[in-house]
Symmetry: C2
Subunit: 328 residues, 2 copies
């Protein structure tokens, strides 16, 4: 079977690609070929067990999607997006990429013909929720995005649900928790500091904490995120019903709890590298974000995390990204 | 102040226009001019107390909105839509009119410049909700449209919320209950029978009931709908906050209760004109529809109905549409 990954050069895209190359299969089906797309060319894997095509293209260009479907991928991972901070600052760009791009994709799928009906796994976001909300957001709490990014993600969920209901594709949208610890360089996501305050000190660098320690947030490791994506691509969708948009399991922690876990796992010297520099624009965006979830539906449908505590999150980062070492 | 009504030739559009012409004002401001738009030319009012422009145009044509904004209307009532049954049968047409049309409109508003920021009153629908839901749907219950129409309406709500949040317009979306008794001829709405079984027998005609008597649904008179629109156009939006999409108050009744009310108000001969002809396609659409609501937020914000019982609904129809008489 052919697999298409949109947004393959992003962090989750690269982690997912690594996993697919390592497994060589999705569920019980062998992967016979892959197409990796992003706005910048994703890295061509060195020793892939199957033919891998690498495509650099503007996902939000009206004609782009048809070419990406040339191999009739049976599974499409749609991770392409511009992040929350950028979508908020660049209104038109956000709608063009995060909304129009998805619409071009599902229209191209619909018009391919010949009974083509791929599994479309869309990465949505907990930014579909907006304050005020209960301390734990349940599976039936309503959606009020308070950012353009959250609005665009929710609209895509709705479109994918409707196209699925009409039999035009087999869609499922999963709302990832904030990925922590996010490897690599800081990006424009307003949520970046949740990872920065762990990753940078472990690498011997200073990190800026722009909010107070009582800010609570919802986290999952890159490993768990990839696990969710693979499960979404392989699970029996017959039991999901019409509600194809699901909040994924995660771990709720305050910034203070994150720092305490860092202290336990890595010690005081590492924690001392966190500098407090309040940033009102980050504070006001983060204030509207969810803090904790009850994700019973996703759990019943077999979505599971790799971590049980924030200490686990830090240990998984040290193991997967730092070869077991850090700057003491 | 100039007022623009989009979808002015539809039933609610005509009722709203009548009210605005009669009042000559919206809240404490005089209406200095009106533009009435629809895909077919709305009827030119005979004795309007202000200049009235009548426009026939395709609302979903990219360039159409800019011309409609030429008089810089300070209030825009956006009632333009194709109905649920038609949007379900004609997928592309539904998205073009119910989604793209709204997007063209809000983009045209945004780009008009000179500090233009009109009040945009959007008529949404309870079709944003989908089964299973609680017997009474509360203000924080999540949205799962199970029709393309409901999907399109919800996406428009989200867009209007986001454009409002960004300061590009002053939007408010109100979800009307099913309008009952709807005057005029049956249209393609799957909900048509709720009105047909009252209106047609009162006019001496047979009516078809395609569902069973235990079907419960959520109703408001045309008079209440117009009242909601006027209130949405004139209320202080400062107290509404970020959640600009509101379910309107209404009356919950079963088809059996509708028929019992018809019996009380108009008698057995009238009721005998209802013929039971089950229609599976209508039954399956209506099964996914809400039955009852708790609309505390809207009530607190001053939205009120003109009717307290289904008997009132029938009496209002007889008074407003039939000059106080019906076919006994």
């Amino acid at each position: 079977m052919h697999v298409l990954v949109l947004g393959a050069a992003g962090m989750v895209g690269r982690k997912l690609t690594e996993r697919l190359l390592k497994d060589g299969r999705l569920g019980n089906r062998e992967i016979s070929g892959m197409t990796l797309q992003d706005v910048v060319a994703p890295e061509k894997p060195a020793k892939a067990p199957m033919p891998v095509k690498v495509v650099a293209s503007d996902f939000a260009h009206a004609g782009a999607a048809a070419g990406l479907l040339a191999d009739r991928p049976e599974v499409i991972f749609h991770l392409a997006a511009i992040v929350s901070g950028e979508a908020e600052a660049e209104f038109d760009k956000g709608y063009r990429i995060n909304l129009d791009g998805t619409r071009y994709l599902i229209e191209a799928i619909r018009h391919l013909g010949g009974g083509y009906k791929p599994r479309l796994v869309f990465t949505s976001s907990i930014a579909v929720f907006g304050a005020p909300f209960p301390e734990k957001i349940g599976d039936e709490f309503f959606h009020t995005p308070l950012t353009s990014y959250g609005t665009q993600k929710l609209i895509c969920e709705l479109l994918i649900n409707d196209y699925t209901r009409k039999g035009m594709l087999e869609g499922i949208s999963i709302r990832l928790p904030t990925i922590c610890v996010r490897p690599g360089k800081p990006n424009k996501a307003a949520s970046g500091f949740f990872s920065n305050i762990i990753r940078e000190p472990l690498a011997g660098h200073e990190a800026v904490l722009p909010v107070s320690e009582d800010v609570r947030h919802w986290h999952a490791t890159p490993k768990s995120a990839v696990g969710f994506l693979v499960h979404a691509a392989t699970m029996d969708l017959g039991t999901v019903g019409a509600r194809r948009n699901l909040s994924m399991p995660g771990l709720s922690a305050t910034v203070g709890e994150q720092i305490a876990a860092l202290d336990r796992v890595a010690g005081k010297n590492v924690v001392a590298r966190i500098k407090r520099v309040p940033d009102q624009s980050i504070i006001s965006i983060v204030n509207g974000w969810p803090r904790d979830f009850s994700t019973e539906r996703a759990k019943k449908l077999g979505f599971t995390t790799a971590e049980k505590t924030f200490d686990d999150i830090i240990r998984i980062h040290i193991e997967d990204e730092l070869g077991g070492n850090f700057a003491r």
